[in-house]
Protein backbone atom coordinates (compact mmCIF):
# COMPACT_ATOMS: atom_id res chain seq x y z
CA UNK A 1 0.00 0.00 0.00
CA UNK A 2 1.38 3.37 -1.05
CA UNK A 3 1.13 5.77 1.92
CA UNK A 4 1.64 8.95 -0.12
CA UNK A 5 -2.04 10.03 0.09
CA UNK A 6 -1.93 9.92 3.90
CA UNK A 7 1.32 11.91 4.11
CA UNK A 8 -0.01 14.41 1.59
CA UNK A 9 -3.28 14.78 3.51
CA UNK A 10 -1.40 15.28 6.77
CA UNK A 11 0.93 17.95 5.38
CA UNK A 12 -1.91 19.81 3.67
CA UNK A 13 -4.01 19.68 6.83
CA UNK A 14 -1.02 20.62 9.02
CA UNK A 15 -0.01 23.64 6.96
CA UNK A 16 -3.53 24.96 6.49
CA UNK A 17 -4.35 24.47 10.18
CA UNK A 18 -1.19 26.31 11.24
CA UNK A 19 -2.06 29.15 8.90
CA UNK A 20 -5.73 29.30 9.86
CA UNK A 21 -4.90 29.13 13.57
CA UNK A 22 -3.38 32.60 13.42
CA UNK A 23 -5.79 33.98 10.81
CA UNK A 24 -8.80 32.77 12.81
CA UNK A 25 -7.50 34.16 16.10
CA UNK A 26 -6.63 37.45 14.48
CA UNK A 27 -10.06 37.78 12.85
CA UNK A 28 -11.90 36.72 16.01
CA UNK A 29 -9.98 39.21 18.17
CA UNK A 30 -10.26 42.24 15.91
CA UNK A 31 -13.76 41.68 14.58
CA UNK A 32 -15.07 41.56 18.14
CA UNK A 33 -13.92 45.19 18.48
CA UNK A 34 -15.61 46.56 15.35
CA UNK A 35 -18.98 48.39 15.42
CA UNK A 36 -22.06 46.09 15.40
CA UNK A 37 -23.00 46.63 11.74
CA UNK A 38 -19.50 45.88 10.45
CA UNK A 39 -19.28 42.94 12.83
CA UNK A 40 -22.55 41.43 11.61
CA UNK A 41 -21.51 41.79 7.98
CA UNK A 42 -17.99 40.39 8.41
CA UNK A 43 -19.37 37.58 10.49
CA UNK A 44 -21.65 36.47 7.66
CA UNK A 45 -18.90 36.73 5.05
CA UNK A 46 -16.36 34.81 7.14
CA UNK A 47 -18.80 32.08 8.11
CA UNK A 48 -20.04 31.58 4.55
CA UNK A 49 -17.53 28.78 3.68
CA UNK A 50 -19.06 26.72 6.47
CA UNK A 51 -22.42 26.48 4.72
CA UNK A 52 -21.40 26.77 1.07
CA UNK A 53 -20.92 23.49 -0.83
CA UNK A 54 -17.13 22.85 -1.10
CA UNK A 55 -17.55 22.69 -4.88
CA UNK A 56 -18.68 26.31 -4.86
CA UNK A 57 -15.54 27.23 -2.94
CA UNK A 58 -13.51 25.22 -5.45
CA UNK A 59 -15.18 27.04 -8.30
CA UNK A 60 -14.54 30.42 -6.71
CA UNK A 61 -10.90 29.57 -6.07
CA UNK A 62 -10.40 28.41 -9.65
CA UNK A 63 -11.94 31.68 -10.82
CA UNK A 64 -9.26 33.53 -8.86
CA UNK A 65 -6.23 31.23 -8.95
CA UNK A 66 -6.64 29.54 -12.29
CA UNK A 67 -3.80 30.12 -14.78
CA UNK A 68 -6.00 32.34 -16.97
CA UNK A 69 -7.53 34.26 -14.07
CA UNK A 70 -6.47 37.48 -12.39
CA UNK A 71 -4.25 36.28 -9.54
CA UNK A 72 -3.25 32.98 -11.12
CA UNK A 73 -2.13 34.60 -14.36
CA UNK A 74 -0.19 37.30 -12.55
CA UNK A 75 1.67 34.80 -10.33
CA UNK A 76 2.37 32.61 -13.35
CA UNK A 77 3.68 35.61 -15.29
CA UNK A 78 5.83 37.05 -12.49
CA UNK A 79 7.05 33.93 -10.67
CA UNK A 80 6.42 31.27 -13.30
CA UNK A 81 4.46 29.23 -10.78
CA UNK A 82 1.09 27.58 -11.34
CA UNK A 83 -1.24 27.97 -8.35
CA UNK A 84 -3.47 25.03 -9.26
CA UNK A 85 -2.89 21.30 -9.71
CA UNK A 86 0.05 21.13 -7.28
CA UNK A 87 -0.04 19.46 -3.86
CA UNK A 88 0.03 22.78 -2.06
CA UNK A 89 -2.88 24.10 -4.13
CA UNK A 90 -4.96 22.00 -1.75
CA UNK A 91 -3.77 24.24 1.09
CA UNK A 92 -5.75 27.13 -0.44
CA UNK A 93 -8.85 24.98 -0.69
CA UNK A 94 -8.72 23.48 2.81
CA UNK A 95 -7.77 26.82 4.39
CA UNK A 96 -10.89 28.50 3.07
CA UNK A 97 -13.06 25.56 4.10
CA UNK A 98 -11.73 25.30 7.67
CA UNK A 99 -11.39 29.02 8.39
CA UNK A 100 -14.94 29.42 9.78
CA UNK A 101 -14.41 26.54 12.22
CA UNK A 102 -11.37 28.21 13.74
CA UNK A 103 -12.83 31.70 13.58
CA UNK A 104 -16.11 30.79 15.26
CA UNK A 105 -14.66 28.67 18.06
CA UNK A 106 -12.01 31.32 18.79
CA UNK A 107 -14.68 34.01 18.84
CA UNK A 108 -16.81 31.97 21.20
CA UNK A 109 -13.83 31.45 23.49
CA UNK A 110 -12.91 35.15 23.41
CA UNK A 111 -16.48 36.14 24.20
CA UNK A 112 -16.32 34.13 27.41
CA UNK A 113 -13.19 36.04 28.46
CA UNK A 114 -13.57 38.35 31.42
CA UNK A 115 -12.41 41.71 30.05
CA UNK A 116 -11.65 43.04 33.52
CA UNK A 117 -8.63 40.71 33.45
CA UNK A 118 -7.29 42.58 30.44
CA UNK A 119 -8.08 45.96 32.01
CA UNK A 120 -6.39 45.09 35.27
CA UNK A 121 -3.40 43.85 33.26
CA UNK A 122 -3.21 47.22 31.51
CA UNK A 123 -3.59 48.98 34.82
CA UNK A 124 -0.49 47.28 36.23
CA UNK A 125 1.44 48.12 33.06
CA UNK A 126 1.40 44.85 31.11
CA UNK A 127 1.70 45.33 27.35
CA UNK A 128 -1.26 44.43 25.16
CA UNK A 129 0.83 41.71 23.48
CA UNK A 130 1.64 40.16 26.85
CA UNK A 131 -2.03 40.34 27.85
CA UNK A 132 -3.08 38.63 24.61
CA UNK A 133 -0.62 35.73 24.73
CA UNK A 134 -0.16 35.28 28.47
CA UNK A 135 -3.62 36.06 29.84
CA UNK A 136 -6.28 35.96 27.15
CA UNK A 137 -4.93 32.89 25.35
CA UNK A 138 -4.37 30.71 28.44
CA UNK A 139 -7.81 31.70 29.72
CA UNK A 140 -9.41 30.66 26.40
CA UNK A 141 -6.95 27.80 25.84
CA UNK A 142 -9.40 24.91 25.76
CA UNK A 143 -11.88 26.50 23.36
CA UNK A 144 -9.12 27.48 20.97
CA UNK A 145 -7.48 24.07 21.19
CA UNK A 146 -10.77 22.31 20.46
CA UNK A 147 -11.32 24.61 17.48
CA UNK A 148 -7.84 23.89 16.16
CA UNK A 149 -8.27 20.12 16.38
CA UNK A 150 -11.68 20.33 14.76
CA UNK A 151 -10.27 22.47 11.94
CA UNK A 152 -7.43 19.96 11.45
CA UNK A 153 -9.88 17.08 11.27
CA UNK A 154 -12.02 18.89 8.74
CA UNK A 155 -8.90 19.69 6.69
CA UNK A 156 -7.93 16.01 6.61
CA UNK A 157 -11.30 15.05 5.18
CA UNK A 158 -11.67 17.91 2.71
CA UNK A 159 -12.67 16.61 -0.71
CA UNK A 160 -14.82 18.91 -2.83
CA UNK A 161 -12.73 22.05 -3.12
CA UNK A 162 -9.45 20.11 -3.04
CA UNK A 163 -10.38 17.86 -5.93
CA UNK A 164 -11.25 20.90 -8.04
CA UNK A 165 -8.20 23.01 -7.23
CA UNK A 166 -5.53 20.29 -6.88
CA UNK A 167 -7.14 17.48 -8.84
CA UNK A 168 -6.12 13.85 -8.47
CA UNK A 169 -2.63 13.06 -9.65
CA UNK A 170 -1.35 9.84 -8.05
CA UNK A 171 1.84 10.47 -6.13
CA UNK A 172 1.52 14.25 -6.63
CA UNK A 173 -1.79 15.67 -5.43
CA UNK A 174 -3.60 12.56 -4.23
CA UNK A 175 -5.05 12.85 -0.74
CA UNK A 176 -6.84 10.22 1.34
CA UNK A 177 -10.30 11.42 0.36
CA UNK A 178 -9.56 11.87 -3.36
CA UNK A 179 -7.87 8.43 -3.33
CA UNK A 180 -10.95 6.75 -1.86
CA UNK A 181 -13.07 8.27 -4.61
CA UNK A 182 -10.60 7.29 -7.32
CA UNK A 183 -10.30 3.69 -6.04
CA UNK A 184 -14.06 3.29 -5.85
CA UNK A 185 -14.43 4.71 -9.32
CA UNK A 186 -11.89 2.20 -10.67
CA UNK A 187 -13.55 -0.71 -8.83
CA UNK A 188 -10.62 -1.33 -6.49
CA UNK A 189 -13.00 -2.08 -3.64
CA UNK A 190 -10.48 -3.79 -1.35
CA UNK A 191 -7.99 -0.91 -1.37
CA UNK A 192 -10.77 1.66 -1.09
CA UNK A 193 -11.99 -0.15 2.01
CA UNK A 194 -8.52 -0.03 3.57
CA UNK A 195 -8.35 3.74 3.06
CA UNK A 196 -11.83 4.08 4.52
CA UNK A 197 -10.57 2.24 7.60
CA UNK A 198 -7.63 4.62 7.86
CA UNK A 199 -10.00 7.56 7.59
CA UNK A 200 -12.28 6.17 10.29
CA UNK A 201 -9.34 5.63 12.62
CA UNK A 202 -8.09 9.21 12.18
CA UNK A 203 -11.55 10.72 12.66
CA UNK A 204 -12.10 8.60 15.75
CA UNK A 205 -8.85 9.74 17.34
CA UNK A 206 -9.53 13.39 16.53
CA UNK A 207 -13.05 13.40 17.93
CA UNK A 208 -11.83 11.60 21.03
CA UNK A 209 -9.21 14.32 21.45
CA UNK A 210 -11.84 17.05 21.10
CA UNK A 211 -14.00 15.38 23.72
CA UNK A 212 -11.10 14.99 26.13
CA UNK A 213 -10.18 18.65 25.70
CA UNK A 214 -13.74 19.72 26.38
CA UNK A 215 -13.98 17.51 29.42
CA UNK A 216 -10.82 18.89 30.96
CA UNK A 217 -12.20 22.33 30.19
CA UNK A 218 -15.22 21.68 32.39
CA UNK A 219 -13.04 20.45 35.22
CA UNK A 220 -10.61 23.34 35.21
CA UNK A 221 -13.14 26.13 34.64
CA UNK A 222 -11.68 29.14 36.40
CA UNK A 223 -13.51 29.47 39.70
CA UNK A 224 -12.59 32.98 40.57
CA UNK A 225 -15.74 33.95 42.39
CA UNK A 226 -15.57 31.35 45.07
CA UNK A 227 -15.30 33.07 48.41
Amino acid sequence: MDWFPLLNSLRIAGISTAFIFFAGLFAAYYIAKTPPVVKGLLDVVLTLPLVLPPTVIGYALLRILGPNRLVGAWVLHVFGVRLTMTWWSAVFATSVVIFPLMYRTARGAFESFDETLAYSGQSIGLSNTYIFWRIRMPYCRQGILAGTVLAFARALGEYGATSMVAGYIPGVTATVSTTVYQLWRTNDDALAFRWVTVNLAISFVVLLAVNLIEKSNEKSKPDRYRM
Partner: protein
Protein backbone atom coordinates in the same frame (compact mmCIF):
# COMPACT_ATOMS: atom_id res chain seq x y z
CA UNK B 1 0.23 64.19 44.75
CA UNK B 2 -3.17 65.03 43.41
CA UNK B 3 -5.90 64.31 40.97
CA UNK B 4 -8.02 66.70 38.96
CA UNK B 5 -10.93 65.43 36.91
CA UNK B 6 -13.33 67.38 34.74
CA UNK B 7 -14.97 65.10 32.22
CA UNK B 8 -18.14 64.55 30.24
CA UNK B 9 -19.34 61.40 28.58
CA UNK B 10 -22.61 60.36 27.00
CA UNK B 11 -23.80 56.79 26.91
CA UNK B 12 -27.12 56.62 25.09
CA UNK B 13 -29.46 58.55 27.39
CA UNK B 14 -27.01 58.63 30.28
CA UNK B 15 -24.81 61.70 30.65
CA UNK B 16 -21.81 61.76 32.89
CA UNK B 17 -20.51 65.17 33.87
CA UNK B 18 -18.10 65.03 36.77
CA UNK B 19 -15.71 67.54 38.32
CA UNK B 20 -13.46 66.34 41.13
CA UNK B 21 -10.17 67.14 42.71
CA UNK B 22 -8.27 65.63 45.57
CA UNK B 23 -4.85 65.86 47.18
CA UNK B 24 -3.08 63.34 49.40
CA UNK B 25 -6.31 61.99 50.76
CA UNK B 26 -8.99 59.43 50.19
CA UNK B 27 -11.87 60.75 48.17
CA UNK B 28 -14.96 58.56 48.12
CA UNK B 29 -17.48 58.63 45.30
CA UNK B 30 -20.71 57.69 47.00
CA UNK B 31 -23.55 56.81 44.65
CA UNK B 32 -26.23 54.28 43.89
CA UNK B 33 -26.10 51.94 40.93
CA UNK B 34 -26.24 53.83 37.66
CA UNK B 35 -24.88 57.02 39.22
CA UNK B 36 -21.79 56.85 37.04
CA UNK B 37 -19.27 56.26 39.81
CA UNK B 38 -17.64 53.20 38.26
CA UNK B 39 -17.66 54.84 34.83
CA UNK B 40 -15.78 57.80 36.33
CA UNK B 41 -13.15 55.42 37.67
CA UNK B 42 -12.85 53.69 34.30
CA UNK B 43 -12.38 57.06 32.59
CA UNK B 44 -9.55 57.91 34.98
CA UNK B 45 -7.91 54.53 34.40
CA UNK B 46 -8.18 54.90 30.62
CA UNK B 47 -10.53 52.00 30.05
CA UNK B 48 -13.33 54.30 28.96
CA UNK B 49 -12.71 57.44 26.96
CA UNK B 50 -14.52 60.64 27.95
CA UNK B 51 -16.13 62.72 25.20
CA UNK B 52 -14.68 65.95 26.58
CA UNK B 53 -12.60 67.27 29.41
CA UNK B 54 -9.31 66.59 31.11
CA UNK B 55 -7.76 64.35 33.74
CA UNK B 56 -4.55 65.36 35.50
CA UNK B 57 -2.75 63.21 38.07
CA UNK B 58 0.31 64.50 39.94
CA UNK B 59 0.71 67.24 37.35
CA UNK B 60 0.74 64.70 34.48
CA UNK B 61 -2.05 65.14 31.97
CA UNK B 62 -3.58 61.71 31.38
CA UNK B 63 -6.36 62.95 29.17
CA UNK B 64 -7.18 66.27 27.53
CA UNK B 65 -9.69 66.36 24.72
CA UNK B 66 -8.61 69.82 23.53
CA UNK B 67 -4.90 69.08 23.49
CA UNK B 68 -5.63 65.61 22.11
CA UNK B 69 -3.84 63.84 24.92
CA UNK B 70 -5.06 60.34 25.72
CA UNK B 71 -2.48 58.21 27.48
CA UNK B 72 -2.83 54.44 27.34
CA UNK B 73 -3.91 52.69 30.55
CA UNK B 74 -0.34 51.43 30.90
CA UNK B 75 1.14 54.92 30.69
CA UNK B 76 -1.34 56.34 33.18
CA UNK B 77 -0.11 54.30 36.13
CA UNK B 78 -3.45 54.49 37.85
CA UNK B 79 -3.77 51.40 40.00
CA UNK B 80 -7.33 50.24 39.55
CA UNK B 81 -8.56 47.46 41.82
CA UNK B 82 -11.70 45.86 40.40
CA UNK B 83 -14.57 44.74 42.57
CA UNK B 84 -13.96 41.08 41.69
CA UNK B 85 -10.18 41.70 42.08
CA UNK B 86 -9.52 40.36 38.53
CA UNK B 87 -6.67 38.08 39.53
CA UNK B 88 -5.30 36.04 36.62
CA UNK B 89 -6.93 32.65 37.29
CA UNK B 90 -4.29 30.50 35.59
CA UNK B 91 -1.38 32.07 37.47
CA UNK B 92 -0.28 31.46 41.03
CA UNK B 93 -0.32 34.19 43.66
CA UNK B 94 3.39 34.79 43.10
CA UNK B 95 3.00 34.95 39.30
CA UNK B 96 0.15 37.41 39.70
CA UNK B 97 2.29 39.69 41.85
CA UNK B 98 5.31 39.29 39.55
CA UNK B 99 3.12 40.38 36.65
CA UNK B 100 2.62 43.65 38.53
CA UNK B 101 6.38 44.19 38.75
CA UNK B 102 7.14 43.59 35.06
CA UNK B 103 7.48 47.32 34.40
CA UNK B 104 10.70 47.43 36.45
CA UNK B 105 13.55 46.67 34.02
CA UNK B 106 16.12 45.69 36.67
CA UNK B 107 15.68 42.00 37.56
CA UNK B 108 17.25 42.38 41.00
CA UNK B 109 15.01 45.30 41.96
CA UNK B 110 12.03 43.42 40.57
CA UNK B 111 12.62 40.36 42.75
CA UNK B 112 13.30 42.55 45.78
CA UNK B 113 10.10 44.52 45.46
CA UNK B 114 8.06 41.35 44.91
CA UNK B 115 9.62 39.76 48.00
CA UNK B 116 8.97 42.89 50.04
CA UNK B 117 5.32 43.12 49.05
CA UNK B 118 4.73 39.39 49.63
CA UNK B 119 6.15 39.85 53.12
CA UNK B 120 4.20 42.99 53.82
CA UNK B 121 0.88 41.39 52.91
CA UNK B 122 1.68 38.16 54.72
CA UNK B 123 1.29 36.11 51.52
CA UNK B 124 4.40 33.99 52.02
CA UNK B 125 2.55 30.72 52.55
CA UNK B 126 0.12 31.37 49.68
CA UNK B 127 2.56 32.09 46.85
CA UNK B 128 1.99 28.71 45.17
CA UNK B 129 -1.80 28.85 45.36
CA UNK B 130 -4.03 29.81 42.45
CA UNK B 131 -6.66 32.51 43.02
CA UNK B 132 -9.49 29.95 43.08
CA UNK B 133 -7.96 28.43 46.21
CA UNK B 134 -8.03 31.73 48.12
CA UNK B 135 -10.70 33.25 50.35
CA UNK B 136 -12.22 36.59 49.36
CA UNK B 137 -10.06 38.46 51.84
CA UNK B 138 -6.89 36.78 50.57
CA UNK B 139 -7.85 37.59 46.99
CA UNK B 140 -8.23 41.22 47.96
CA UNK B 141 -4.80 41.20 49.56
CA UNK B 142 -3.20 39.69 46.44
CA UNK B 143 -4.96 42.24 44.24
CA UNK B 144 -3.67 45.10 46.39
CA UNK B 145 -0.15 43.62 46.46
CA UNK B 146 -0.17 43.25 42.69
CA UNK B 147 -1.29 46.85 42.21
CA UNK B 148 1.12 48.36 44.75
CA UNK B 149 4.14 46.51 43.36
CA UNK B 150 3.41 48.21 40.02
CA UNK B 151 4.00 51.57 41.77
CA UNK B 152 0.89 53.47 40.68
CA UNK B 153 0.57 57.24 40.95
CA UNK B 154 -2.86 56.93 42.51
CA UNK B 155 -5.01 54.11 43.79
CA UNK B 156 -8.51 53.56 42.43
CA UNK B 157 -10.72 51.19 44.39
CA UNK B 158 -13.99 50.02 42.85
CA UNK B 159 -16.41 48.73 45.50
CA UNK B 160 -13.59 46.99 47.37
CA UNK B 161 -15.84 44.94 49.64
CA UNK B 162 -18.82 44.12 47.46
CA UNK B 163 -17.55 40.57 46.89
CA UNK B 164 -17.13 39.82 50.57
CA UNK B 165 -19.33 38.47 53.32
CA UNK B 166 -20.50 40.88 55.98
CA UNK B 167 -18.48 39.55 58.88
CA UNK B 168 -15.26 39.69 56.86
CA UNK B 169 -15.77 43.27 55.83
CA UNK B 170 -15.15 44.82 59.18
CA UNK B 171 -11.70 43.29 59.59
CA UNK B 172 -10.76 43.94 55.99
CA UNK B 173 -11.81 47.56 56.27
CA UNK B 174 -9.15 48.00 58.96
CA UNK B 175 -6.63 46.23 56.77
CA UNK B 176 -7.46 48.37 53.76
CA UNK B 177 -7.31 51.53 55.87
CA UNK B 178 -3.73 50.68 56.80
CA UNK B 179 -2.83 50.01 53.18
CA UNK B 180 -4.30 53.37 52.19
CA UNK B 181 -2.41 55.16 54.96
CA UNK B 182 0.94 53.63 54.07
CA UNK B 183 0.31 54.35 50.37
CA UNK B 184 0.11 58.00 51.41
CA UNK B 185 -0.99 59.34 48.03
CA UNK B 186 -4.34 60.07 46.42
CA UNK B 187 -6.91 57.32 46.69
CA UNK B 188 -10.28 57.39 44.93
CA UNK B 189 -12.77 54.96 46.38
CA UNK B 190 -16.08 54.10 44.79
CA UNK B 191 -18.86 52.66 46.90
CA UNK B 192 -22.55 52.63 47.59
CA UNK B 193 -21.96 51.55 51.18
CA UNK B 194 -22.13 54.53 53.54
CA UNK B 195 -20.38 52.76 56.41
CA UNK B 196 -17.46 51.75 54.22
CA UNK B 197 -17.22 55.27 52.84
CA UNK B 198 -17.37 56.86 56.29
CA UNK B 199 -14.69 54.60 57.69
CA UNK B 200 -12.24 54.79 54.80
CA UNK B 201 -12.48 58.28 53.31
CA UNK B 202 -11.49 61.81 54.20
CA UNK B 203 -13.78 63.54 51.75
CA UNK B 204 -16.92 62.42 49.98
CA UNK B 205 -18.46 63.35 46.65
CA UNK B 206 -22.06 62.26 46.26
CA UNK B 207 -22.79 61.17 42.69
CA UNK B 208 -26.27 61.05 41.29
CA UNK B 209 -27.36 60.52 37.70
CA UNK B 210 -23.88 61.23 36.42
CA UNK B 211 -23.39 64.47 38.36
CA UNK B 212 -21.64 65.46 41.54
CA UNK B 213 -24.43 66.43 43.93
CA UNK B 214 -22.39 67.47 46.93
CA UNK B 215 -18.74 67.43 47.99
CA UNK B 216 -17.37 67.83 51.47
CA UNK B 217 -15.53 66.24 54.33
CA UNK B 218 -17.12 63.04 55.47
CA UNK B 219 -18.45 64.79 58.59
CA UNK B 220 -20.06 67.56 56.51
CA UNK B 221 -21.65 65.15 54.08
CA UNK B 222 -23.07 62.93 56.79
CA UNK B 223 -24.28 65.95 58.79
CA UNK B 224 -25.84 67.69 55.84
CA UNK B 225 -25.88 65.69 52.62
CA UNK B 226 -27.50 68.59 50.73
CA UNK B 227 -29.51 66.56 48.27
CA UNK B 228 -32.27 64.02 48.50
CA UNK B 229 -30.22 61.17 47.08
CA UNK B 230 -27.25 62.20 49.23
CA UNK B 231 -29.49 61.85 52.25
CA UNK B 232 -30.69 58.43 51.10
CA UNK B 233 -27.12 57.27 50.43
CA UNK B 234 -25.92 58.43 53.84
CA UNK B 235 -28.68 56.44 55.46
CA UNK B 236 -31.49 58.93 56.06
CA UNK B 237 -34.69 56.87 56.21
CA UNK B 238 -37.25 59.68 56.54
CA UNK B 239 -37.68 62.14 53.69
CA UNK B 240 -40.71 64.29 52.90
CA UNK B 241 -41.54 66.94 50.36
CA UNK B 242 -41.90 70.38 51.89
CA UNK B 243 -43.73 73.65 51.33
CA UNK B 244 -42.35 76.80 52.82
CA UNK B 245 -44.68 78.49 55.27
CA UNK B 246 -42.46 81.03 57.00
CA UNK B 247 -38.91 82.02 57.78
CA UNK B 248 -38.33 79.02 59.93
CA UNK B 249 -41.44 77.01 59.24
CA UNK B 250 -42.09 74.43 56.54
CA UNK B 251 -44.93 72.03 55.95
CA UNK B 252 -43.75 68.44 55.50
CA UNK B 253 -46.51 67.47 53.12
CA UNK B 254 -45.79 63.74 53.07
CA UNK B 255 -45.84 63.49 56.83
CA UNK B 256 -48.76 65.85 57.39
CA UNK B 257 -46.97 68.02 59.96
CA UNK B 258 -45.41 71.47 60.18
CA UNK B 259 -41.77 71.67 61.12
CA UNK B 260 -39.59 74.42 62.52
CA UNK B 261 -36.11 74.32 61.07
CA UNK B 262 -32.83 75.97 62.04
CA UNK B 263 -32.78 79.58 60.92
CA UNK B 264 -29.51 79.36 59.05
CA UNK B 265 -30.89 76.57 56.90
CA UNK B 266 -34.08 78.42 56.14
CA UNK B 267 -32.18 81.17 54.29
CA UNK B 268 -32.25 79.47 50.95
CA UNK B 269 -35.28 77.34 51.67
CA UNK B 270 -36.77 78.21 48.27
CA UNK B 271 -34.58 75.75 46.42
CA UNK B 272 -34.97 73.10 49.08
CA UNK B 273 -37.73 70.73 48.15
CA UNK B 274 -37.33 68.05 50.78
CA UNK B 275 -36.84 67.69 54.50
CA UNK B 276 -35.29 64.65 56.09
CA UNK B 277 -34.53 63.35 59.53
CA UNK B 278 -32.43 60.36 60.47
CA UNK B 279 -34.31 57.66 62.32
CA UNK B 280 -32.01 57.90 65.34
CA UNK B 281 -32.33 61.70 65.57
CA UNK B 282 -36.01 61.51 66.44
CA UNK B 283 -36.39 61.96 70.21
CA UNK B 284 -38.95 60.70 72.66
CA UNK B 285 -40.93 63.59 74.13
CA UNK B 286 -42.95 61.58 76.55
CA UNK B 287 -41.73 63.17 79.77
CA UNK B 288 -43.28 66.40 80.95
CA UNK B 289 -41.89 69.52 79.28
CA UNK B 290 -38.65 70.38 80.93
CA UNK B 291 -38.69 74.06 80.08
CA UNK B 292 -37.55 73.67 76.48
CA UNK B 293 -39.88 75.19 73.94
CA UNK B 294 -41.89 72.27 72.54
CA UNK B 295 -40.95 72.79 68.88
CA UNK B 296 -41.80 70.00 66.46
CA UNK B 297 -43.43 67.78 69.05
CA UNK B 298 -46.27 65.73 67.67
CA UNK B 299 -48.27 62.75 68.69
CA UNK B 300 -47.77 59.74 66.41
CA UNK B 301 -49.57 56.43 66.08
CA UNK B 302 -47.36 53.38 66.28
CA UNK B 303 -48.14 51.34 63.16
CA UNK B 304 -45.59 48.61 63.65
CA UNK B 305 -42.36 47.78 65.39
CA UNK B 306 -39.48 45.88 63.81
CA UNK B 307 -37.10 44.15 66.14
CA UNK B 308 -33.39 44.48 65.31
CA UNK B 309 -30.57 42.79 67.23
CA UNK B 310 -29.97 45.78 69.51
CA UNK B 311 -32.78 48.19 68.75
CA UNK B 312 -36.32 48.58 67.57
CA UNK B 313 -37.41 50.37 64.44
CA UNK B 314 -40.75 51.88 65.32
CA UNK B 315 -43.00 52.81 62.42
CA UNK B 316 -44.84 56.05 63.15
CA UNK B 317 -47.58 58.09 61.49
CA UNK B 318 -48.78 61.50 62.58
CA UNK B 319 -52.00 61.08 64.52
CA UNK B 320 -55.12 61.98 62.59
CA UNK B 321 -53.23 61.93 59.23
CA UNK B 322 -54.26 58.60 57.77
CA UNK B 323 -52.90 59.55 54.32
CA UNK B 324 -49.47 60.52 55.64
CA UNK B 325 -46.28 58.62 54.89
CA UNK B 326 -45.04 56.54 57.83
CA UNK B 327 -41.72 57.46 59.47
CA UNK B 328 -39.03 55.25 60.96
CA UNK B 329 -37.77 55.82 64.46
CA UNK B 330 -34.81 53.93 65.95
CA UNK B 331 -35.14 53.26 69.63
CA UNK B 332 -32.91 51.54 72.15
CA UNK B 333 -34.24 48.10 72.97
CA UNK B 334 -34.72 48.54 76.74
CA UNK B 335 -36.03 52.09 76.31
CA UNK B 336 -38.76 51.04 73.89
CA UNK B 337 -39.66 48.00 75.93
CA UNK B 338 -40.20 50.35 78.90
CA UNK B 339 -42.45 52.85 77.15
CA UNK B 340 -44.07 50.69 74.46
CA UNK B 341 -47.44 52.40 73.69
CA UNK B 342 -49.91 52.52 70.80
CA UNK B 343 -49.34 56.25 70.38
CA UNK B 344 -46.36 58.32 71.37
CA UNK B 345 -45.18 61.91 71.59
CA UNK B 346 -41.94 62.46 69.70
CA UNK B 347 -39.85 65.47 68.90
CA UNK B 348 -38.20 66.14 65.54
CA UNK B 349 -35.48 68.51 66.78
CA UNK B 350 -35.05 71.48 64.41
CA UNK B 351 -31.27 71.17 64.46
CA UNK B 352 -31.56 67.64 63.02
CA UNK B 353 -33.94 68.48 60.20
CA UNK B 354 -32.03 68.18 56.93
CA UNK B 355 -33.20 70.53 54.20
CA UNK B 356 -32.50 68.96 50.85
CA UNK B 357 -32.38 69.89 47.21
CA UNK B 358 -33.81 67.56 44.65
Amino acid sequence: MSIYVDIEKSYGTFHLSVQLDAGDETLALLGGSGSGKSLTLKCIAGIERPDRGSIVVDGVTLFDSERRIDLSPQERRTGLVFQNYALFPHMTVLENIRAGARREPDAKKRTDSVDRIVDRFGLGCLTGHTPAMLSGGQQQRVALARILVSEPRILLLDEPFSALDGHLRHRLEDELKQVIESFGKTVVLVSHNRREVFRLSDRIAVLEEGRVGAVGTREEIFRNPGTRSGAVLTGCKNISRIRRKGDRLVEATDWGIDLFVDAELADDAEQKEYAGIRSHDIAWAGHANSGNPPENVYRFDVLDEIENPFSYTVILRAQGQSDAEPMQWDMDKPAWERIRTPSVDVCLPPEFILLLKK
